[in-house]
Amino acid sequence: MIKTEHLGKRYDTLVAVDDVTFQVGPGEVLGFLGPNGAGKTTTMRMLAGFVTPSSGRASICGHDVEQDTLAAKACLGYLPEGAPGYGEMTVRSFLEFIVELRHLGAVARARLDYVVGRLQLQSVLEQSIETLSKGFRRRVGLAQAIVHDPPVLILDEPTDGLDPNQKHEVRTLINEMSRDKIIVISTHILEEVDAVCTRAIIIARGRIVADASPQGLAAKSRYYNAVSMRLERPEQLAQVRSAVAALPAVAEVEVSERESRLTALPRAGATILPALSELAARQGLALKELHLESGRLDEVFRTITA
């Protein structure tokens, strides 16, 4: 369990994190979203025991991060922003160093082999960290975070700098681990929230501005339950537009000439798909595409954090 109560951090006059309260339980993957400088990293650093909170409290697995720091850190796997490491060390000696600090005893060898295999680090084991590509560096950072099989994982931008294949690989790893762990990731890639998170917290100017499931967030979108159609014949756009706008449940119509696409936004709570498909049938429109939108996260994100 991760628990924060009125957690805050101020630097002189700057309030980095302000009154942040949330709880995360086992099986949850919490996505921490927000513009750059919103306070995501500072919050994560306070949870990891690297930054001392100015106000409020935080605990990991019941251990207060300030009073019972070592026990809290022992429960935690943490990937700092940018995945820093000791550049002059080889990947092998770096991971061995972490394993030693984690006091894994008899299982040390097995755990080391496991993370090396899981994150496909075999080929770079003897290379120094400073010579690694961004993707490998991130994977070494992930390896040190999970090597002691912690019940809680806090990963600051785990997929930053990875190519699409590597991103997919890391997301699969997070999904696999999510069954019995508490995972918090920060990201500004919104597709990631859909791909791995069960819950999302949006933070802006140090405050929590939204806390919901990804579907719940998407439901706040203007595009939630909107209907989008592409016409076979672009010249019909203007005519269809006025017909659609006349429908009582439609609040607004957006038209993209380039794609010959028309998007109808419903009034709050209304369902417009049946009405629109009936309209299309009645007017004998040739459609390339007709689909119901489930809401756009990026639009919600912009609206909330602007």
Binding site: G49, F50, L70, A74, Y86, E88, M89, F97, L101
Partner: protein, 244 residues
């Protein structure tokens, strides 16, 4: 204690992972011998002792020790690895102590490699080996004192060059605390009692008595307290500024 050892080993290993360690050792040995033979006249004096060698150590260390200590914390802060280190289940103290001991052990290794000088004087005559041992201990303490000061300066900044310059200046002040050039700066605005207190903090007076072969408890205590003080200062500085 185990964590201190793990951190120390990693740190020591990183000295040798780059050319820094080898360059340092070579320069230290060359300069130490050069000072002893040319400036100190080790041969010409016709005495079987190592005083000309040890007398120059404070000046040698003044520039070489900050070169070791400058990277201790500045580099960790610059590369961000300090965040990784401090979020492992270790205390700040274990990290401060581990890194300090690594740097000291490295300086001790460089000093130990001057043993051919000791063999030479033993071959040429019959020196007081007890006094030489005491002087080696004094030199080690001097190095430890400079390292503690330099480490503290390194914790203040992310920039290694700044850490080096701050280290040299701070070491210089402590080294010459008993001399007019430092005391005059304080005399005009501090009461005499405090000026005397500053004067008694001088490295040089404490080191010189040990280097002559006199191991006085007061001198040992002085070095122990000074090192302890700067290690505590390092921990305090890191606690406040590590995340900046």
């Amino acid at each position: 204690m185990r964590n201190v050892g793990i951190i120390m080993r990693r740190e020591l290993g990183s000295y040798f992972a780059t050319p820094l360690a080898y360059i340092f050792i070579v320069i230290f040995l060359v300069l130490a011998s050069w000072f002893a033979f040319y400036l100190g006249g080790l041969y010409e004096r016709g005495q079987a002792d190592l005083n000309p060698f040890f007398n120059f150590h404070p000046w040698l260390y003044l520039f070489l020790i900050p070169a070791i200590s400058m990277r201790l914390w500045a580099e960790e802060r610059k590369s961000g690895s300090i965040e990784l280190l401090m979020t492992q289940p270790i205390t700040l103290w274990q990290a401060v102590l581990g890194k300090f001991l690594a740097a000291w052990l490295f300086a001790a290794l460089a000093l130990a490699l001057t043993f051919p000088l000791w063999i030479t004087v033993n071959y040429l005559g019959s020196p007081d080996n007890g006094a030489i041992l005491a002087a080696y201990i004094g030199s080690l303490l001097l190095a430890a004192g400079f390292l503690a000061i330099g480490g503290c300066m390194s914790a203040l900044t992310r920039n290694q060059v700044v850490a080096f310059i701050l280290g040299v200046v701070a070491c210089f002040v402590v080294l010459l605390a008993g001399f007019p050039m430092v005391l005059d700066a304080f005399r005009s605005w501090l009461p005499q009692v405090l000026v005397d207190a500053i004067a008694s903090l001088s490295f040089l007076t404490h080191y010189e008595s040990i280097a002559k072969g006199v191991l006085d408890v007061r001198d040992l205590l002085y070095f122990a307290m000074l090192i302890g003080y700067f290690l505590i200062a390092t921990a305090v500085v890191l606690d406040v500024r590590k995340a900046e």
